[in-house]
Amino acid sequence: MAESVIDVRGVSTSLGGHAIHRDLSLSVARGEVIALIGGSGTGKSVLLREIIGLLRPQAGHIELFGQSVWDATPEQMNALRRRFGVLFQDGALFSSLTVEDNVATPLFEHTALPRPTCRQLARLKLALVGLPDDAAKKRPSELSGGMRKRVALARALALDPELLFLDEPTSGLDPISARTFDHLIRLLADSLGLTVFLVTHDLDTLFSIIDRVIVLSNGRVLGSGTIEALKHIDDPWLRDYFAARASREGIAHGS
């Protein structure tokens, strides 16, 4: 078994008196591309926020790179933050900065490099995520949704993290942009040796780029494995989930 990058053990969460996670455990090994799926309200995004240290679970233990997230000192936590990048659902770009400065901000704040060098590295990242040269000096509001996602991805990659968290990376994108974005993530994960943890509703993402899927249900991990393995789990939600894909393919083939 390879070294585990994310280790979640016995996490329980309740929000507003409503139990969300009950004794939930999972782990992610280095280099894996993992998708977390589950119905609405099963606490996928909540779990993501707990792992990256934004929300404290009531019980349980969460480790990133072997360092406990919730027992870390502020200095340890900052060192940890440099090792992972987060892509928020709607990009969360700074609207008053140019695209280039958005990507360069983590470099400004966390490295001793001179500002022109930071900007050059930012443009390298923009090129890596496939944005044209002339996008660098624009503002986020002047870009399309798909381009904004790419900028957000470039910002998440600015400090060359080993681990990337993506919250619904393809939501709000048209199917073609979504597929392109999926393949970009896989390409970067392979060429940069990233571990990727993504929360998604998008079945096509699952089928195209994911090594392993973790299913949340009733506050626990219902199953984990490849899609083929998950199809054998007898669960009404999971059956409906994959049936949705099957019926869509049927429509596509019928026409």
Partner: protein, 364 residues
């Protein structure tokens, strides 16, 4: 994890690097001072990321399009990372910095911007007039509820501050006038001076300034935020006109509320003057009011009240137009709100000067 190390071997022109290469490794790069590097030896590199790879490549060649030196000893995945960064490296070339503009160019740009503002305002007035005419034909389309809510915000909310400001200004004015008048035994003429100053100039202008800062800024921020969250677009796609829904109720509420606020300001200013007259000049409230009844001309009151709706129209025009021209980023809302207050204040002062000249020529 091993720190990054680098040293330059003069004999074979080789840069030998080892350790972990990331964005923090820049400080250990030796100063090559233009010496050509023929070999990049990475046998000892434990970790390499894109930032580190770019820093390495950038240091070993003078230009991004120059040929790479021989890459020796790198692990295969480090090598492929170097090639990936090299492929995209051209994009990271420094951009030419925008040319610095001279005084003349900046003056020209400023003049162009002012002209753009004026032309935009004229265009806005035109579109708003069309909207008002079409609304006049369909009284059912008036937004009475919105109008009422705006009157409450603009008028009722401003009463305490208007009262306090004008009361204090009345006190100061009466005090200064009284100090002069007393030397000539002309105490009672303080009433004449105070009435003219407060009713004709101070109350309308100060109320307009307060409303511009208070309501004008609020209108721009509110409409601007609605623009950012695409609410304005939603209004348009529902087949409604943003001008009818957002601008007209605010403008009419301002036109109604401003004269009322000026009237309250008049009363507060006179009251402030009365208090000082009684304490400092021995003019009782009764004498003050008698004198007021004798010398106050209706036109003095009407001149002051008449300016208020004109100020109101301009504040509303500027505030709504700036709100609607907000673009979709956070800074824009702040910049446009500031611009509203500045433009409104300038407009108030200019309009007041025009009124003063006009009234003198018309001998009012």
């Amino acid at each position: 994890m091993a720190d990054a190390h680098a040293h330059f071997d003069e004999s074979e022109a080789a840069l030998i690097v080892r350790g972990a290469w990331n964005a923090d490794a820049a400080s250990v790069l030796p100063d090559l001072a233009g010496k050509p590097v023929r070999v990049l030896d990475g046998a000892g590199v434990a970790r390499l990321d894109t930032n580190g790879a770019w820093l390495l490549l950038n240091s070993v060649r003078p230009r991004p399009d120059a040929p790479l030196p021989e890459l020796r000893g790198f692990q295969p995945h480090h090598l492929s990372l170097l090639r990936l960064v090299d492929k995209h490296g051209a994009a990271a070339a420094p951009l030419p910095s925008p040319p610095r503009l001279g005084v003349r160019a900046l003056t020209g740009q400023g003049a162009h911007a002012v002209w753009g503002h004026l032309a935009g305002l004229l265009d806005f007035i035109g579109r708003l007039s069309i909207e008002l005419f079409s609304l006049a034909a369909r009284p059912g389309a008036w937004r009475w509820r919105e109008f009422g809510a705006q009157v409450r915000d603009i008028f009722v909310g401003a009463i305490p501050i208007v009262f306090a400001m004008l009361f204090l200004l009345g006190v100061v004015f009466a005090y200064l006038l009284g100090d002069q008048a007393r030397r000539y035994g002309a105490n009672i003429f303080v009433v004449d001076g105070l009435l003219a100053a407060i009713l004709r100039e101070i109350s309308p202008v100060i109320v307009a300034v307060l409303v511009a800062g208070r309501t004008g800024a609020a209108i721009t921020a509110q409409i601007g935020t609605m623009k950012v969250t695409e609410e304005v677009d939603a209004i348009r796609t529902l087949g409604l006109s943003p001008l009818a829904v957002l601008v007209v109720p605010r403008m009419l509420a301002l036109v109604l509320a401003m004269p009322l606020l000026v009237f309250i300001g008049n009363a507060a200013g006179i009251f402030g003057g009365m208090v000082v007259a009684k304490e400092q000049l021995d003019i009782s409230f009764h004498m003050f009011l008698d004198r007021t009844a004798d010398v106050l001309l209706l036109k003095t009151l009407l001149v002051g009240l008449g300016k208020a709706p004109v100020f109101a129209i301009f504040i509303a025009l500027i505030a709504c137009r700036m709100g609607l021209s907000v673009t979709r980023d956070a800074r824009s809302v702040g910049a446009h709100t500031t611009s509203t207050v500045v433009q409104s204040l300038v407009a108030i002062i200019i309009l007041n000067a025009i009124f003063a000249v006009m009234f003198v020529r018309l001998e009012i």
